[in-house]
Structures are given as structure tokens and as C-alpha cells.
């Protein structure tokens, strides 16, 4: 029996090498195609520099929002080694909640008031969205993931996809199919002009808010007792519990932090896209997941930079490649395929430890 098993194994190894070769050839072909398009089409169009700059700024805004969502994926992965595929829906529910808070503020006339009132109202709208997302996030953890903590790793993943669909269609059922439109208060409409580049106020506010939230998260993780406990749990759950760390509590807090960021992202995306509906979390969720993988999943700075890079590529890509903007989603997911072929651990990725692999 032994020799035949050996040959079967050898065949398996050969099959794997062949497959890897094919994938790499495929990846290389895509890269060549991209370079060809950029040089023959994108650069040949001769857009002015200001055009590229405003595209890039737009990309940074979107990238900042992706980063907030990507951090949620990466935080949860860092501790539970699972992809929370319902995270995009957690963000969408933040957006929906934010919409109702916005509507309430409008009905009270807060958004036409003096600027401090408007700023406070906007903050409250965002906090309301964040609170809604946190509520959904911890409910998911408790009902959909914790009972499966000991199960094989594929099982919580399936549960996450189920939760994603459940949340989407619950929102569809409750709030209907038509999009809820975010109306910007006059204070943050318009923008400023720097040379030939136009910077909308919403974009600037979204970018700055995203950066501030990321810095806050980074501070919590690196400089506080709670963050230290989170990092310890991510490394070794059992040993952390020997130190008196309540691992379940840390996991819940991790979901809360990730969901709060997603809720903020949901509200900001509402202002950016001007609408939110039951499926507006799905594609941005996948993009943020792509960003997290691009940076190296489980790596916090990786998620931030991966998302900014993805935002930039998505914003500049269509013009650089000379393809219609409607196809920009293709760019993100092609990028995902390329990373998985050439650098599965991501740009900032470390070698996966045995436990995670």
C-alpha cells in the first residue's frame, strides 16, 4: 500500500505546483494588461494634474471610510480568526440609524441653526449610528458566533454569511426597498477651491473624522490596559485568562469597537453617497474586506493603509485604465485576486503562525 500512497502524494504535490504556476501566469497576464492599458490609454489621454489630484483626494475620502470598516474585520480576525462577513451589514445599519437621527434633527430644525448646534447635531447623528451598530455587533457575537466558538473554522463563516443575509432582508422588510436619502445641512454643503482642485466640505470632514477615529483606536490598542488585554487575548487566549482576563468580555469589547467604527463609517458613507438602503453595506463591506486582506488581515496599521491604498486605486483606476467608472468594483476585486495569488499575507502581513494557519 505504501508505495501507491506515496505516488498519490507526489501527484498531489505536482498538481499543486501546476495550479500555483497557472495562477501566477494568470496574475502576471492581468498585470501586463493593466500596465498596457495605463501606458497606452490612461497616460495618453493627457488629463491635467488637477484632475488626478481631485481623483486622488476623492480616493482618500473613500479609503478613510473603508479603513474604518476594514479595522472591524481585522480586529475580529485578530482575536477569533474568523471573518465577520456580516460586518458590512453592521455598517449599513449604522447608516440607516443615522438617517433616522438626521431626519429627527431636521424636523427639530437643528440643522438650520447656528453652527455649534449643527456640529453637535451631526455628532449626535453619528453617535446614534455608532450605537445602533454596536448593538447589532454584540448581538451577532452573542447569537451567531459565540455558540460556534468550538466548531471548525468554516462553521462560523457560514453563520456570518447567514447573518449578513438575515440583516439585509430584515432591513428590507422593515424599512422597504426604496433608498433613504441623506440631505446635507447647508453648513457642510459646498466646498473650497485650491487652485484648480475643488475640495467638498463633506469629503474633508469625512477624511478628518476617519483619521481621528483611527488614531483613537490605535491609542486604545497600544496605550491602554484594555488594548494590552486585547493584544494578549489575540496572541494566546488561555494564557490571557490565567492573568485574570475575562476573554469573553474582551471579545465582546472587540466587537463593540469594530462595530462603533463601522457605524461611524455607515453614517459618513450615507452623507458621501447621499443614500442608504438595505444592501448598501454589502459591496463596501467586501471592499473593506479586500482592504484588510491587502494590508494583511489581523494587522491594524495594515488595514488602515490597505484601505487608503484601495481607495486611491479605485478612484484613479478607471481614468488610468480608460474604463467606465461603473466598472470600478472590478478593480478592487481584481486587486483582491492578485493579492491572494502573489502575496496572500498582504502588504504588511507577517507569516501566519501555526495556530492561525
Amino acid at each position: 500500500m505504501a508505495p501507491s500512497r506515496l505516488t498519490a502524494q507526489a501527484a498531489g504535490v505536482n498538481g499543486k505546483t501546476a495550479l500555483r504556476f497557472l495562477l501566477r501566469a494568470f496574475g502576471a497576464a492581468i498585470l501586463v494588461l493593466v500596465i498596457w492599458r495605463v501606458t497606452t490609454v490612461g497616460l495618453a489621454e493627457g488629463y491635467p494634474a488637477s484632475f488626478w489630484i481631485s481623483q486622488a483626494l476623492n480616493g482618500l475620502v473613500l479609503g478613510g471610510v473603508y479603513a474604518l470598516v476594514a479595522l472591524g474585520y481585522t480586529l475580529v480576525y485578530g482575536i477569533l480568526f474568523m471573518i465577520n462577513f456580516a460586518h458590512g451589514e453592521v455598517m449599513m445599519i449604522g447608516g440607516i440609524a443615522g438617517f433616522f437621527a438626521l431626519q429627527f434633527s431636521q424636523s427639530r430644525g437643528w440643522l438650520e441653526g447656528p453652527w455649534p448646534v449643527v456640529v453637535v447635531a451631526l455628532l449626535l447623528i453619528m453617535l446614534f449610528g455608532m450605537a445602533a451598530s454596536v448593538l447589532i455587533g454584540i448581538t451577532l457575537e452573542r447569537l451567531a458566533y459565540r455558540p460556534l466558538r468550538q466548531a471548525p473554522r468554516l462553521v462560523p463563516l457560514i453563520s456570518a454569511i447567514g447573518a449578513s443575509l438575515f440583516l439585509q432582508y430584515s432591513v428590507l422588510l422593515i424599512f422597504g426597498v426604496s433608498p433613504h436619502s441623506y440631505r446635507k445641512p447647508a453648513l457642510i454643503s459646498g466646498g473650497m477651491r485650491m487652485g484648480d482642485v475643488f475640495i467638498p466640505y463633506t469629503g474633508a470632514i469625512i477624511f478628518i473624522t476617519s483619521i481621528l477615529l483611527m488614531l483613537a483606536l490605535y491609542f486604545i490598542i497600544q496605550r491602554t490596559k484594555l488594548g494590552r488585554a486585547m493584544r494578549a487575548v489575540a496572541e494566546d487566549r488561555a494564557t490571557a485568562s490565567l492573568m485574570g482576563v475575562d476573554v469573553n468580555a474582551v471579545i465582546v469589547i472587540t466587537f463593540m469597537l469594530g462595530s462603533a467604527l463601522a457605524g461611524a463609517a455607515g453614517v459618513m458613507l450615507g452623507f458621501h453617497n447621499t443614500v442608504v438602503k438595505f444592501n448598501s453595506g454589502f459591496v463596501p463591506g467586501l471592499k473593506a474586506f479586500t482592504a484588510a486582506v491587502l494590508g494583511g488581515i489581523g494587522n491594524i496599521p495594515g488595514a488602515m493603509f490597505g484601505a487608503l491604498i484601495l481607495g486611491l486605486i479605485e478612484a484613479i483606476g478607471p481614468s488610468a485604465l480608460g474604463i467606465p467608472t461603473e466598472y470600478k468594483d472590478v478593480i478592487a476585486f481584481t486587486l483582491l485576486v492578485l493579492i491572494l495569488i502573489f502575496r496572500p499575507t498582504g502588504l504588511f502581513g507577517e507569516v501566519l503562525s501555526e495556530k492561525k494557519a
Partner: protein
């Protein structure tokens, strides 16, 4: 101070501990010796609450808390705390601190952060800095490496960090799992010297070791574990002299 009363532990269907009973009194070093797979680490992890005991009881004696001698040494009482009902983090918070097998240093946390993790459940800043001083006195090497990631330390330094980290909770009882594992003989000697020193300062210690010789030399009493059963127990000196023990565990 710590009493195990016929404790049974399972890994799935594998019956790993088959009714372990043992006692650790205040101020003692008690060692648990035995070969690989006898259940030594399982015993410590059951005490710590990492593994659930399926039958039997584990008591932490109530008045051991105040540091005074227990009113009824070696005998469980209704006022004692049942550890076997508690999750690991609560056992740790009651003052049972473990330095685990293989050291289990948080590799990406700095030495300082590792020590801070040991004091996680504490809020008394003054007491924490006192204990930090004490740990640095015991292990001056750690002070030189404070900002280095735990994973970059040598094996001996990691062992020092693991013991230091366990001391940072100011425990009532210290569980040490194979502190000599993988260390050069000179380091083993040093670590055992320090264990004795910690004990001389008043710490109660349950020491799990494969290096039976060294362990019995510093211990007051010992238990010999074999495939999930305690087969022999007694004063450390008597066990050292026991021909059965000598043949099986001392390599004489």
C-alpha cells in the same frame, strides 16, 4: 491552603486525571513529579480553571486569603472557595497564579507589558510598582530588557519573565509548570535557587517538574503522578530516598 479532592478531568473521551487528591499547605513547596503524559500539566490547568473538572472538588481555603494560617489545614470546609466551579480568569483573581508550561510569553508584547499583564486584575498602583521592584530584584535581567518584545528573549529569560509575570498578581499560591524545561543546567540551578528564594519570602508553591531530583531537593513534600493517578506521596526527603522513585524518576 489548596485542596484537591478526587478530581477527574477529561479531554473529550480521554480520562486524563482519575481522581487526584492532594493538599498544599501555607508556606510549603509541594512538587508534583512524573513522566511525560502522566497528567501534571492537566492537574495545574484543572486547578487554574483552563480545563473543567468533571468530578471531584478543588478548594481554596478561605482564611488563607488574609495570609494567616488556615483554621483547619488540609481539610476542606464549607467556608472554602470551590475553584472547580469557576472560569480561569476568576480563579486567577482569587490569587491562584500559574506560570504555564512552555512559558507562554506574549511574544509581541514588550517585557514591561508582559509584566503588566500579570498585574491585570489589580488596581493598586503602589502595590504594583512595589511588586515590580521585587521582580527586578529577583530577575535583574528583565529590567535590562524592559522594552524588548517578549518573543526576542532567550529561553532562560523567558522563564524568568513567566515567573515574574505570575508573581505580579501578588498571588496566594504560585503554580509553576516545568520551570526547568529546555534550560541549560546552570540556568536550571539558578531558577531553582530563585524558586527557593520566593518561597523563603512566604510564597506557597505547587511545582510541577520532570526534573524530579532538583524539584525534590527544594520541596517540602512531593506527589508522584502516573497515568492520571497519584501513586506515591510523602516528604520530599523520603521520596528522594525511595528506591522506587530513584529507579523510575531520578535516573539512578
Amino acid at each position: 491552603m489548596l485542596i484537591l479532592d478526587s478530581v477527574h478531568t477529561y479531554y473529550g473521551h480521554i480520562h486524563a486525571l482519575k481522581g487526584i487528591s492532594l493538599t498544599v499547605n501555607q508556606g510549603e513547596i509541594v512538587t508534583l513529579i512524573g513522566s511525560n503524559g502522566a497528567g501534571k500539566t492537566t492537574t495545574l490547568n484543572t486547578i487554574s480553571g483552563v480545563l473543567p473538572a468533571r468530578a471531584g472538588a478543588i478548594y481554596l481555603q478561605e482564611n488563607a486569603r488574609s495570609g494567616g494560617p488556615p483554621a483547619h489545614p488540609g481539610r476542606a470546609n464549607d467556608s472554602d472557595i470551590r475553584l472547580d466551579q469557576l472560569p480561569a480568569h476568576q480563579v486567577a483573581r482569587l490569587g491562584v497564579s500559574q506560570s504555564p508550561e512552555g512559558r507562554k510569553i506574549f511574544a509581541r508584547l514588550s517585557v514591561q507589558e508582559n509584566l503588566a499583564m500579570g498585574a491585570f486584575a489589580r488596581a493598586d498602583a503602589d502595590g504594583i510598582s512595589q511588586d515590580l521592584e521585587r521582580v527586578f530584584q529577583l530577575f535583574p535581567r528583565l529590567q535590562e530588557r524592559l522594552s524588548q518584545p517578549g518573543g526576542t528573549l532567550s529561553g532562560g529569560e523567558q522563564q524568568m519573565l513567566a515567573i515574574g509575570r505570575a508573581l505580579m498578581s501578588r498571588p496566594r499560591i504560585l503554580l509553576l509548570d516545568e520551570p526547568s524545561m529546555g534550560l541549560a543546567p546552570i540556568l536550571v540551578q539558578q531558577i531553582f535557587q530563585i524558586i527557593r528564594e520566593i518561597n523563603a519570602q512566604g510564597m506557597t508553591i505547587l511545582l510541577v517538574e520532570q526534573n524530579a531530583q532538583a524539584a525534590l531537593h527544594i520541596a517540602n513534600r512531593g506527589y508522584v503522578l502516573e497515568t492520571g493517578n497519584i501513586v506515591l506521596s510523602g516528604d520530599a526527603q523520603d521520596l528522594l530516598a525511595d528506591p522506587q522513585v530513584a529507579e523510575a524518576y531520578l535516573g539512578i
